[in-house]
């Protein structure tokens, strides 16, 4: 019993690292321009389909597709920013929500049209097999995905803390007026944040495809889950985001193993409500 629980906890925590990566993209977008991007989860879904498609037609393994999908999603992010988001920045919240929800619906309908409604999965991946640690069996692809997610998160962390573009993003998210007065061009910074935030879903999408299938309704689940991770972590802490992602992943797994597979979301959102109730700025959020 404890073994099964621990086994599930490990699996959940590993998946949670990918959730954290997805939430990091959302956090970049929300933190910098205060836009609630409801389509974020559908970017993940789109990345997964692109991975599937490239894997099928070009024979590129899911592990390597981010090399192609990362720039693709960055461009799609830029396009979405300049075509839609940019025009809603000065509008009311409701307008922004309507636009990103619209984008979400559009992406879902588009994938349904192209790839049909049935679930798709890649036949194989380079990383196969299991790793045995004591009584626990860990799927190699899960472990590699978690490690790659943590690496990607670290990469973003260094980008934000060490490069001039990263500092511009942080400055703009702290105080846009002050940043623009010292020369930070805000539209370009916004576009960069949106592009990068979207591009991170490409890494997540590729990693997810190594052990999961994709269907067009998945976007909503990832969108809400990443919101949940972000709100629980609070804005401004990247290590906090990782921990929060792991908590959410683990909670899902525990819910499934102790209760019922159908309870996976229930546990997560109960936890989410509890955290926000006791600590509205999130577990690691800045004041």
């Amino acid at each position: 019993m404890t073994d099964t629980l621990l086994q599930n906890l490990i699996n959940g925590a590993l998946t949670g690292c990918i959730y954290a990566l997805i939430a990091l993209g959302l956090s970049l977008i929300f933190g910098v321009m205060n836009v609630v991007n409801f389509a974020h989860g559908d970017f993940v879904m789109l990345s997964m389909y692109l991975t599937f498609w490239i894997g099928l037609w070009a024979g590129v393994d899911a592990v390597f597709t981010p090399l192609l999908t990362f720039p693709a999603l960055f461009l799609i992010g830029l396009l979405a920013y300049y075509a839609l988001i940019n025009r809603t920045l000065r509008q009311r919240y409701v307008t922004q929500i309507a636009v990103t929800v619209g984008l979400m619906t559009f992406l879902r309908a588009l994938t349904q049209l192209i790839w049909k409604a049935q679930p798709r999965a890649l036949p194989y991946s380079l990383i196969q097999g299991n790793i045995q640690i004591g009584p626990y069996t860990i799927l190699a692809s899960r472990l590699v995905s978690a490690a790659a997610s943590v690496l990607a998160i670290l990469g973003v962390y260094f980008f934000l803390s060490r490069t001039w573009a990263g500092r511009a993003i942080r400055a703009a998210s702290d105080d846009l007026d002050a940043a623009s007065l010292v020369g930070v061009p805000y539209r370009q910074t916004y576009a960069l944040a949106f592009g990068l935030g979207s591009a991170l879903t490409a890494i997540a999408g590729g990693l997810l495809m190594t052990f999961q299938q994709v269907d067009p309704t998945m976007g909503v689940r990832f969108g809400l889950l990443s919101w949940c991770v972000l709100a629980m972590a609070g804005l401004g802490s990247i290590p906090g985001l990782l921990i929060s992602g792991i908590i959410v992943g683990a909670a899902e797994a525990v819910g499934m193993s102790l209760w019922d597979p159908r309870a996976r979301s229930l546990i997560v959102y109960l936890l989410f409500i509890l955290v926000l109730w006791l600590r509205p700025r999130g577990l690691f959020g800045r004041k």
């Binding site: 001039w164 500092r167 702290d174 007026d177 002050a178 623009s180 007065l181 020369g183």
Partner: protein
């Protein structure tokens, strides 16, 4: 008399029915220390915001060295060499002092040169000991110098300071004024200071403009301004001049 570096002509800014700036015209000359004073709500901060591009005026023009810069975005105006500091310091709260100043230095430099600029500016603003402190943990006096340092890192030729002396004690104020004087004399930076602290205005400014209810009511040397009956009336009310 030197050439004008900034000309504001007939600038008008309304917020709904409130006229924050009404036909304001003034001229700042290359190399001088210019001051704008006026009672609370006179439109001083609004004037700054309309010059640096944080707000767009409803009418009128702003010329920088003869070129029209009206309504350009702040980062473009910063690139031309004008920037301003805020009345309430708005340093990037989650950054260290060095990082915040670095953001400014990126305006003109890349690579190693950035650090050189940051070091230079931190030294001028006497912030070297605070280098690695986070901005949100700092007191008002050093925070005002962080604002100044961040602005200086962009290498402005015209620097607008919004009540930079407010809330400083006499010795902090004297130190701050000394820094400003040096910037003006050694770096040839034209300064425009909006201020309530008369000690600072009278001690630094070569020319003063007085704003009241969004209009220019007087202009002159500190000597002329301090004896101008309209100015005294604006500050103290009618009947104050005996």
């Amino acid at each position: 008399m030197s050439a004008p570096i900034l000309q504001v002509s007939q600038l008008t800014k309304r917020f709904g029915s409130l006229v924050a700036l009404n036909n304001v015209s003034l001229e700042i000359r290359e190399g001088e220390i210019f001051s704008i004073i006026g009672p609370n709500g006179a439109g001083k901060t609004t004037l700054f915001f309309n010059i640096v591009g944080l707000q767009k005026p409803d009418a009128g023009r702003v010329l920088f060295r003869g070129a029209d810069i009206t309504g350009k975005p702040p980062h473009k105006i910063c690139d031309l060499g004008i920037t301003c500091t805020f009345q309430v310091p708005r340093a990037f709260a989650n950054m260290t002092v060095e990082e915040a100043v670095r953001v400014g230095a990126y305006q003109r430099y890349r690579g190693r040169e950035v650090q050189r600029k940051v070091d230079e500016v931190l030294q001028i603003c006497e912030l070297e000991e605070y280098r690695h402190q986070r901005c949100c943990d700092m007191g008002l006096a050093p925070l005002r110098r962080v604002e100044l340092a961040r602005a200086l890192a962009t290498e402005p030729v015209l620097l607008l300071l919004d009540e930079a002396g407010a809330g400083l004690n006499p010795s902090e104020l004297a130190g701050f004024m000394e820094i400003l004087r040096r910037l003006n004399e050694e770096k040839r930076i034209t300064l425009c200071i909006v201020e309530h602290v008369m000690q600072m205005v009278m001690g630094l400014a070569q020319r003063i403009v007085v704003l009241d209810y969004g209009e220019v009511i007087a202009e002159g040397t500190p000597q002329e301004i301090s004896t101008n009956p309209r100015v005294i009336e604006a500050y103290l009310g009618k009947g104050a001049v005996c």
